[in-house]
Amino acid sequence: MTKLNLDIIGGPLLVLAGLALPFAGADYLMGIAFNLAMWIALTQSWSILSAMTGYVSLGHVVFCGIGSYVFILTNGTLPMPVALACAGLAAGVMALVIGLPVLRVRGPYFVILTFGLAELAKNVIVQIETSLGQFSRLIFDAPALDTLYFIMFGLAVASTAAAVLVRHSKLGRGLVAIRENEEAAEAIGVPVTRLKLIAFVVAAIIPGIVGGVLLLRTSYFEAAQAFDPVISFSIVTMAIVGGMGTVRGPILGSLAFVLLSELLWARFPQLYMIILGALLILFILFMPRGLSGLFERREARR
């Protein structure tokens, strides 16, 4: 009950704050909020597959990258909203195509395979771009920051809503059973292959759109950057720092990261990977339920 209360008050407050923010008139603040919304959208979508089924993906960036690429190819020819939809669709189709073979392997093999596939996709696109003589493509007609912010904010809300819906659905119960014991899940009638594939595709669509919006913000496409594996590492770390057990986790994890990056990384960018690694180890060892675990303990005590 208390948990519900916290979410019922906290959720709408966050949404209101998010909506009001552009009216504060500070571009600096809006830039930070844009990043926050982006990480929430990405981490929340990652959790739909990885936190729910235990299939930990280390290649989530691949969907952003594909989204970015499809967006840069279609934007201009197609109206921007349609190009964004194409980006999401392309990521979803890609998940559908690679999902069946990829989701056959489990545990550490899945982690390595997703990482490897993302790197492969990066190199393929880099090669294509090089052979076309394209080293970076520019966007000239990007909308203003507040428009982009609102789109990204919408994606964060949509991603969170999707995570909530999946968690409370029949699908979510099946995914959790897969995480806990896949053979036992199959023996009680859970169509494990189909459910994993559905989760994979659902988890891919929003990152695809995020990839497109991110391009509009940076205003150029460069394959090595669009498929940067550090994005995947960051997502996993945020999910673990925030806590994998609840929908709050990705929000808290993203918040912590964006704050940290404002305080630290803006000044000492070379520390990024070190701190990422240190946080990961600390949280896995000492706070496996993440930041949201703190709330749960408080609620349990009341």
Partner: protein, 239 residues
């Protein structure tokens, strides 16, 4: 009426013949026992029937429908559910949530959470676990986890349960309770069972018919009294 018909099932793991030409049929409403020493192929036979292991030869039909080659989840939805000798609870979620998944996805698959919850609670009550519904499944004792295996199979709405050594590792009192639970289930729910047990007394007491396996080869089939008097069985068991 025959509910399960097993015809000439064989299974080899590399050079090892785990099952050799096993045939038998099970009548609806019966308790059919399987006996055999460690490694005789009992669990392998369950896995073949439930679809986790593809047999090297032979076929299985359930209600006159061939099920060999179907996936485990499909076979479950047709009405057969097995338990695991080495228990496989969904340890990180509650006991009730364990059985709710069964009710949502099994043979009696329901899309309503309220209905699934009701079916789940009924299954927990049937095995005497209702009092532990809110515990994490991983916190149950071994006896509790064996009961949860049965409850989860039950909550799928299966007509036929394959129970793999649900009494192994239990104290004599717990074995008595388990025998009572199974007898009551059979009476109240009109189920068909296949039982694997090393607890001979329990197997003899519960089964209508028994198949004895020796290194994957069927050596005798009959009523408990016939099995107990069978010279081949006596030879394998007592030398």
């Amino acid at each position: 009426m025959t509910i399960l018909d097993v015809q000439g099932i064989s299974k080899s793991f590399g050079g090892l013949k785990a099952l050799t030409n096993v045939s038998f049929s099970v009548e609806e409403g019966a308790i059919f026992g399987l006996m055999g020493a460690n490694g005789a192929g009992k669990t392998t036979l369950f896995a073949v029937i439930a679809g986790q292991i593809k047999p090297s030869g032979g076929s299985v039909s359930f209600r006159n429908r061939t099920i060999t080659g179907k996936r485990p989840d499909q076979i479950c939805r047709l009405g057969i559910s097995r338990t695991f000798q080495i228990v496989r609870p969904f340890a990180g979620i509650s006991v009730l949530d364990n059985v709710i998944v069964s009710a949502l996805y099994g043979a009696a698959a329901s899309n309503s959470h309220a209905e699934a919850r009701e079916a789940g609670i009924a299954a927990l009550e049937a095995v005497g676990l209702a009092g532990s519904a809110d515990k994490l499944a991983g916190e149950l004792t071994l006896s509790g986890q064996k009961r949860l295996e049965i409850a989860r199979a039950l909550a799928t709405g299966a007509e036929m349960l394959l129970l793999d050594e649900v009494m192994a590792g239990l104290t004599p009192t717990e074995v008595e309770e388990m025998i009572a639970t199974l007898s009551e289930l059979r009476r109240a729910r009109n189920l068909t069972f296949m039982l694997v047990e090393h607890v001979m007394g329990a197997l003899m007491a519960l089964s209508d018919r028994i198949l004895a396996l020796d290194h994957g080869v069927p050596i005798a089939i009959g009523t408990p009294a016939e099995i107990a008097a069978n010279p081949d069985v006596l030879k394998v068991y007592f030398g």
